[in-house]
């Protein structure tokens, strides 16, 4: 197992470097650069000002030199300096990471717990009205655009009912401490977390249902029934456990993107996370910040893929690590 992990880490480092290089060029294919955006915002048309900005950001250097400097920095765990935010990229990411993780992990937990539960129920009562209700709801949540769900929930829960705050991470100026602060953040978290959570829940529900129905037909389940095991035990120990493998695969892929945040949801709910940072960096062509977020996200995808492979082994002991 140790050699498997170390091999994957070495491969991962090379994959990450390749991703950095590709992203570096991809970002620069988009028209415009941060200097022109910042000069435009400043109402400064004077070419000297734009040139000063380009020099300041080293954008006047040849592209290979810029790439070399950037990759050298990444190797030394230095993600560079954000042109627009005027801060080191790693500081910016570190500042936004807790909010993003809180949001995405909550959403992830909601989606997994509800998704697996509803998927199991739908499979258990396949063909009944309960199955139809769950399947149709899942399809609805999956098909509805996230930003629409976000706006409609703001309209309902903030504007009409006044139950939940419509934006932000906490009540600005309230200066809550202790439990009051936890409650305040939790209230702000409900809508964005549910918005993302319901979308992914739909995926897990459908995946769990399909997988369970497939496993249910297999011989070992018939054997278990023939042995006289109770249905609940069969469902939990034999069917669900085996049916979870594709759900784990999917969750592994999704979990890698958690750090990237949820661009739309964070933007609509003014959640101060990395997704919003990414969105703003894109509009402002803040190359270093974009690359930094992409690099961290890519690293997380690689790490979570490795973790997923390890979790397979726990879920299904028949799986062995390649020698």
């Amino acid at each position: 197992m140790l050699s498997f992990v170390s091999q994957r880490i070495v491969k991962g480092v090379f994959v990450l470097l390749a991703i950095v290089v590709m992203n570096f060029f991809l970002i620069r294919l988009a028209p415009g650069d941060p200097a022109s955006v910042m000069a435009g915002e400043a109402g400064a048309s004077d070419p000297m000002f734009v040139q000063q900005l380009r020099e300041k950001f080293s954008l006047d250097r040849p592209l290979p030199e810029q790439l070399f400097t950037y990759v050298k920095g990444v190797v030394q765990l230095d993600l560079g300096y954000s042109f627009r935010q005027q801060m080191p990229v790693s500081t910016l990411i570190a500042e936004r990471l807790p909010a993003t993780l809180l949001l995405t992990l909550t959403a992830f937990a909601i989606s997994l717990i509800l998704g697996i539960t509803f998927g199991t129920l739908a499979a258990r009562f396949a063909g009944t009205w309960a199955d139809t209700a769950i399947t149709v709801s899942a399809l609805l949540f999956y098909a509805t655009p996230i930003f629409w769900v976000a706006l409609m929930s703001i309209l309902l829960f903030s504007v009409y009912l006044g139950w939940l705050p419509s934006f932000g991470y906490e009540t600005v100026g309230a200066n809550y401490t202790g439990w009051a602060h936890v409650k305040d953040v939790a209230l702000h978290l409900i809508m964005p977390a549910m918005t993302i959570g319901l979308f992914f829940m739909a995926t897990y529900t459908r995946m769990t249902r399909a997988s369970m129905l497939e496993v249910k037909r297999l011989d070992f389940v018939k054997t278990a029934r023939a042995k006289g095991l109770r249905n609940n035990i069969i469902q939990r120990r034999h069917v669900l456990r085996n049916a979870l493998l594709p759900v784990v695969t999917l969750a592994g892929v999704h979990s890698g993107t958690l750090v990237g945040g949820a661009v739309l949801t964070e933007t609509v709910f003014a959640w101060p996370g990395i997704g919003r940072l990414l969105y703003e960096a894109l509009l402002q062509r803040d190359y270093n910040l974009l690359l930094g977020v992409f690099t961290v996200c890519s690293a997380m995808v690689l790490i979570f893929n490795l973790v997923t492979d390890l979790v397979y082994r726990l879920v299904d002991p028949r799986i062995e690590f390649a020698k």
């Binding site: 415009g32 435009g40 906490e170 600005v172």
Partner: protein
């Protein structure tokens, strides 16, 4: 003999008793409270000498100050300078600084700070550099006097001292350091009515009252929270649910303005944009052989239904532009050729010009839904008169790049006028401003030696009557030539809870700080 222009007393130097009792007849300002306002996008920094984008000016206009402020008629008012005189030859401007002004860290503000600020801004502030082009020297005979000497008279010079155009920065903090990397930029020190307390990136910027502010009794409120909300619909909801009190102009989509304006306890004002006077137009690329023909450009002016755009797309806000100057700035004249909506005339002019349906690319401004809709409406107008129009969709950086490389046929824009044609109008039409790589100014590539001459003379002529004569003439020539297609004088109303009083007291609007604002609790 010195021509004493204004020797008005600063509000703070007026006896507080006299001022208060006069004001009390109207409504007595109440002390305390906090104003929650929207800021979007989040400013990249608050050091106004380094960053001059809109959001930075809006927040930092509370932290820093300029030598002068300007009322809604754009007449100079005392700021850090309590009085000023202009020599008869209009080449020497002498400012008397207010006594007893201190920086937020307690150090005194003196003429040395003014000199240091001027020298710094010449390097870091593109607009200030342009404004100071006629400056020969600046001297400080004593701690509270500053003398500007110009190379030649420059009419708009008295109009360049507001906080966004010329913020005063502390010499004792920046002298001998690299201003761009000085860590003090994260904790800006100004002389303004508010001080930075906390900036939680992505969430809010908190400013608190400066207890030692030099205008006695002000500011009235205890602080301001600038809340960062990136989505326009979410900003509307934040106001609707009472989480924010002030939506500065442009905070919400224009089509949402009528609805939000009708919410209970909501006050709306279009004031506070007099200095900026945003004027929208379409750059018509004069290098394009079709658009090089004056008749085609005139046809476009007749073809575009600007009243419709004002009434429908801008919900009745703004005013149809008559030419290169907004009606709110100096030396405006409406005695120019008129271009009412007249599709028949547009078709006739296109026919005369020999237009045969060649493709013309139109690029709307990527600033949100209102601008996209406007682009579609104009396209429809032009198609209706027989033009072959293709829309280019792009984002802000893409649009900046195309504009600066002159890679467009028709491109929407709006630019500020800064109160005087020499500052905000001439730059869009004079030949010296045809520079590839520039993001705006004369991007259309219009060149007319007579226009160049008139604008050059207008900037340095004295007295004002002479300037007016020159600007009247140049406006007529331009409107006849149609180098660009003028659309609307835009209006970005500030929407606020009616409990917020006296928010906008100058022609600079919310960018001039909340020092006069108070909350009627």
């Amino acid at each position: 003999m010195l021509k004493k222009l204004v020797l008005a007393l600063a509000l703070g130097s007026v006896s507080p008793l006299v001022f208060t009792s006069t004001f009390a007849l109207a409504q007595e300002p109440k002390l305390g409270g906090t104003i929650n306002a929207v800021i979007q996008p989040e400013p990249p920094g608050l050091m106004l000498a380094l960053v001059q984008n809109g959001p930075t000016q809006m927040v930092s206009g509370n932290i820093y100050e300029g030598l002068l402020r300007y009322n809604k008629k754009l007449e100079p008012q005392p700021g850090l300078a309590e009085s000023w005189t202009i020599s008869p030859d209009s080449k020497t401007y002498t400012f008397k600084l207010k006594q007893g002004v201190t920086w937020h860290d307690g150090k005194p503000f003196t003429s040395a700070d003014v000199l240091f600020s001027i020298e710094t801004l010449k390097v870091t502030h593109a607009r200030a550099r342009g404004n100071l082009v006629q400056l020969d020297k600046v001297e400080a005979p004593d701690d509270h006097t500053v003398v500007f000497t110009l190379k030649q008279p420059f009419g708009p010079f008295i109009g360049i001292f507001e906080v966004g155009s010329m913020p005063m920065i502390p010499k004792h903090i920046y002298e001998g350091t690299d201003i761009k990397t000085n860590p003090a930029n994260n904790t800006p020190i100004g002389t303004g009515p508010f001080m930075l307390k906390e900036w939680k990136k992505g969430s809010f910027i908190q400013l608190v009252k400066n207890p030692n502010y030099h205008v006695q009794g002000k500011p009235y409120i205890d602080g301001i929270y600038w809340q960062v909300i990136p989505d326009a619909a979410a900003r509307s909801v934040a106001y609707e649910t009472g989480k924010v009190d002030v939506l500065p102009g442009g905070s919400i989509e224009n089509f949402d303005v009528p609805r939000v304006s009708k919410l209970p306890n909501t006050c709306v004002t279009g004031e506070g944009w007099e200095f900026f006077s945003p004027l929208a137009w379409m750059w018509l690329n004069n290098r394009n052989p079709i658009l090089a023909n004056k008749k085609v450009r005139q046809a476009i002016m007749y073809a575009v239904d600007r009243e419709f755009a004002k009434d429908v797309i801008w919900n009745g806000l703004g005013k149809v532009a008559t030419g290169p100057s907004a009606s709110t700035i100096k030396f405006y004249t409406d005695d120019v050729p008129k271009y009412p909506y007249d599709p028949a005339k547009a078709k006739a002019l296109l026919k005369e010009a020999g237009y045969k349906g060649e493709k013309i690319r139109i690029m709307p401004l990527p600033y949100g839904e209102t601008w996209q809709r406007w682009g579609e409406a104009v396209k429809q107008n032009l198609v209706d008169v027989g033009m072959n129009i293709e829309t280019i969709a792009t984002d802000v950086p893409g649009s900046n790049q195309r504009n600066s490389e002159w890679d467009f046929d028709i491109s929407f824009t709006y630019l500020y006028q800064y109160g005087d044609p020499a500052l905000g109008v001439a730059r869009n039409y004079i030949s010296s401003q045809i520079v590839k790589g520039q993001l705006f100014n004369n991007l259309e590539g219009y060149s007319n030696p007579e226009v160049d001459k008139l604008f050059a003379e207008g900037a340095v002529a004295t007295p004002d009557s002479k300037r007016k004569e020159l600007y009247d003439k140049v406006q007529k020539i331009l409107v006849e030539d149609v180098p660009v297609a003028w659309l609307l004088e835009l209006q970005f109303p500030t929407i606020m809870n009616c409990k917020v009083k006296n928010l906008i007291t100058t022609g600079i609007g919310v960018n001039d700080g909340f020092r006069d604002a108070w909350i009627d609790k």
